[in-house]
Symmetry: C2
Subunit: 193 residues, 2 copies
Amino acid sequence: MPTMQFWFEIGSTYTYLTVARIGRAVQAEGVDVDWRPFLLPPILLKAGMTQGPFLPYPRKIAYMWRDIERRAQEHGVPCRQPLKYPPDEVLASARLALLGMQQGWGRAFVEAVFRLHWNQQVQIGTAENLTGALAAAGQEPAAAIERSRTPAIKEGLKAQTEEAEAKGIFGSPTFIVGDELFWGDGRLEQALA
Amino acid sequence: MPTMQFWFEIGSTYTYLTVARIGRAVQAEGVDVDWRPFLLPPILLKAGMTQGPFLPYPRKIAYMWRDIERRAQEHGVPCRQPLKYPPDEVLASARLALLGMQQGWGRAFVEAVFRLHWNQQVQIGTAENLTGALAAAGQEPAAAIERSRTPAIKEGLKAQTEEAEAKGIFGSPTFIVGDELFWGDGRLEQALA
């Protein structure tokens, strides 16, 4: 099966839509997905992008919530506005995502992180979200968190972020097929085609 | 027929895709379109948005060209990369667009402005683009340009820009249906639905 890379920042709002629907979308196309967590803020800061696509503008953020709600409805994806934006701290979740991808439970973990954040208002970055998502992925939370704090994972996430930057990534989600880069959940179908 | 407002900044890149395909798209849906030119930069500046969705980042601009090219291909819209971005000056074109909308030749003018800029590398804002687009819209260029410089048009464009801002618009193209705002060419189908 052909493979598509799916690069994502776990604190990104629109990435929820992709995480919630990519499984169904790729099944229909017969494509394998390589899930690649990375950290977006260091890339944006290094490039001098101090203003995001929505932050820090209240009217753009208000639009973003409504847009995501409409898109979720269109795709039949459940969506309940999270309590807080941006989340306080997502580094631990990103490290666990990388560890999980290496150990085979990453996708289940990431899906649960977003599900808790977007359906049950269990805010990403909180202890409740971390432990809930790890349990959903069949992991013993304390042990997994401990393993995600090793230098190998910390350095691995840095290296993956550098790889994202080298590939020209500047947002999440980003899909890469061959040399072609597609930015945004709205480009998922195009990337698959 | 139901009416959809189509708000646009004439210097916006992605707006080309919409201008090139909206006629076909709305015909299929049986919707009337109200074309509303406005000036985006004053709205962005007032809101403190000094960084656009693509400017001033070379890698985002490179992505933008490729993305527009792919989208144009997908929609069967001709597309040849313009010589310069951003254009030097689009105010005269925006004023003529407003005048034309009031007098019934605005849509033909705007379509020609974009066609010259995106198909024939006749850069928007140049005398060649202005006169070529006016001629395509059946207007005598010198007379139309003169009429577009009256206080009524200058003030009219300011007023329309203030209306856009009051409606919560922060980008181009923006579609408004009832109270719902849709930003981006990629949301055209959703707005029509």
